[in-house]
């Protein structure tokens, strides 16, 4: 297996001059049901290994699956929210493969009869709308989790053996598959990222999954192919598996476009294969070649009867859908008074839900936007994680803004509060307390610092006495320096002007 890190890449602009990209995205959503897809084990991953299992999800002889009705309901609601048709009658199928993460040696999935099909989702990218067509959304089950022992990096390479925990095996999954997304051109990486980010917002609004990419509740596989510009054909694709953040989706598409283009331009051909995404280095490496492995010998699951949702049930579920994303964005923009550009940036940063929750927790819209798209966006870039995965909640952000509004901290100190919360030092109030960050507005303490500043800068003081009030800035700066930034700047200014009146 090659893990070469020296594959040739073509500069992105050159790729676009010669090729049209076609994207396809497969997103797995882990549902937040209480129990698993086909048995009553807890649908919770983590905890004590192999303590959330039973004969059904272990695939023991004689065990019989029964479908979780709530999971079917969630699947239908996801399908409806994606503007899909809902099957009047569909079956589960066995997907046969041999891999120890699936103890039955097959995954119970759906094959040619998905519960939802032929939908679409409109995705906003920098003010333009791309309609992403949804081919299907089907029900299946998650696999167990393998730990590889003996390799130096916990990967399969060099491992002696693997240890499997089946707590995750059987947790309900919905796999959402797009049709090829054509015509995105240079925006292909951004369209891919925006699709996954906006799909996540929809899933969160539906309340059917925790939808945390960093926790693996939402996992994206990125298909990409290139065709000669204007040819209207589809090239050979690669499928990059388990890309686990929005920004990685964007990076993976960009990388594969550049890699494919370099191969095609040098006269080579693309191998149809899965690729592994490496978050640390931002590259993909060769996985498994798709050939015989594709022969899953699907057949209808004999142990489960067909699912035939009545039209009454489907309409009832349609009535439970959240506001559609386009209408929601328009409403929020009007409520918040954001400009088109502010709204576009908020959506583009994957911060719409975060800003909404921050406002709901009491912050003013502009303040909520400022922190998420400023300080926190900077941190998420530095740390290479999505905003939503930063260890800070919208309630924390609203509380920090409240501390600013209450003049407990100023903007500069607020940045230190963010730093403390992100470093796991506790709630905003605890960070203020522990780090001693509260602004001093007490006249006694400030007065002494102001006196010192005046004494140290007699020329500036004279200018102010002569009526040049603008010069007060220099003295405010001196006081701030002495007070290590923790002075109430407004009060300092008042004191300076009083003393030099």
């Amino acid at each position: 297996m090659t893990t070469s890190t020296t594959e040739a890449l073509m500069p992105f602009d050159d790729v676009l001059a010669a090729y049209d990209p076609a994207l396809g995205l497969e997103v797995h959503v882990e549902l937040n049901t209480a129990s698993k897809m086909f048995c009553g084990c807890p649908a919770e991953f983590g905890g004590e290994p192999n303590a959330g299992v039973c004969p059904t999800c272990l695939g023991l002889p004689g065990a019989m699956p029964v479908v979780n009705g709530k999971a079917v309901e969630s699947a239908i609601r996801i399908g409806l929210a994606l503007n899909c048709d809902i099957a009047e009658w569909c079956r589960f199928a066995r997907k046969n493969y041999f891999y120890p993460d699936m103890p039955k040696n097959f995954q119970t999935s759906q094959y040619d009869e998905p519960i939802a099909f032929d939908g679409w989702m409109d995705v906003d990218v920098e003010g333009e709308t791309y309609r992403v067509e949804i081919e299907r959304a089907h029900m299946e089950e998650d696999t167990g989790k393998s730990l590889h022992v003996g390799g130096s990096t916990g990967r399969i390479h060099g491992a002696d053996h693997s240890l499997v925990d089946y707590n995750r095996a059987g947790i309900p999954l919905i796999e959402i598959v797009t049709r090829p997304i054509l015509g995105a051109g240079e925006k292909a990486p951004e369209v891919a990222k925006a699709y996954v980010a906006q799909l996540r917002e929809l899933i969160v609004a539906l309340g059917v999954s925790e939808a945390r990419m960093d926790q693996g509740n939402l996992r994206a596989d990125v298909n990409l192919s290139l065709s000669p510009k204007g040819s209207g054909t589809l090239g050979t694709r690669t499928e990059t598996k388990n890309v686990n953040s929005f920004r990685s989706v964007e990076r993976a598409v960009r990388y594969e476009m550049q890699r494919h283009a370099a191969i095609l331009t040098s006269g080579g051909s693309i191998l149809q294969e899965t690729r592994h995404w490496h978050e640390d280095t931002g590259i993909t490496t060769s996985g498994r070649v798709k050939s015989d492995a594709e022969d899953y010998r699907y057949f209808p699951e004999p142990d489960l009867v067909p699912v035939a949702p009545s039209r009454e049930w489907v309409e009832e579920l349609r009535g439970t859908l959240p506001e559609n994303p386009t209408a929601r964005r328009a409403r929020l923009q009007a409520e918040w008074g954001f400009s088109d550009l502010e709204m576009r940036d908020t959506v583009g940063a994957g911060a719409l839900g975060l800003v909404e929750e921050t406002i709901a927790a009491g912050a003013a819209p502009q303040a909520a936007r400022k922190w998420w798209l400023g300080e926190l966006a900077r941190r998420s870039n530095e740390d290479g994680v999505d905003l939503v995965d930063l260890p800070i909640t919208p309630a924390d952000v609203a509380r920090i803004q409240a501390l600013v509004d209450e003049k407990v901290v100023n903007d500069k100190l607020a940045r230190q509060v963010f730093e403390g919360v992100l470093a796991g030092e506790g709630t905003p109030d605890e960070v203020v307390e522990k780090r001693g960050l509260a602004v001093v507005s007490d006249d006694g303490a400030l007065g002494a610092a102001v006196d010192n500043a005046i004494a140290a800068n007699p020329d500036v003081a004279d200018k102010i006495r002569d009526g040049k009030v603008a010069a007060a800035g220099a003295l405010i700066g001196a006081v701030m320096k002495e007070m290590r930034g923790q002075a109430d700047a407004g009060r300092v200014r008042e004191l300076i002007l009083e003393k030099l009146a």
Partner: protein, 99 residues
Amino acid sequence: MPEITRDEVAHLATLARIDLSDAELDHLAPQLSVILDSVASITGVAGDDVPPTSHALPLTNVFREDVVVPGLTAEEALAGAPEVEEQRFSVPRILGEEA
């Protein structure tokens, strides 16, 4: 009439991880053809008005409430495992694919 070739049987055996010798293939391939022929004779009985079915019972929508029920303890779950390590099923090295 469905016909299954020796090569197809060999391919299926590979997919199913069944290790068949040449002699076994020679012996089994014709037998599978006979079985398929027998099954195919059913299509001669069913008229156009009989839709293909995958289930013997005319049932749909058999659902379970989304309620957690006790399963096995980890000890019980691992009782039949050939090897256990760190409270997990220990399996041989996985080849050919990275997880």
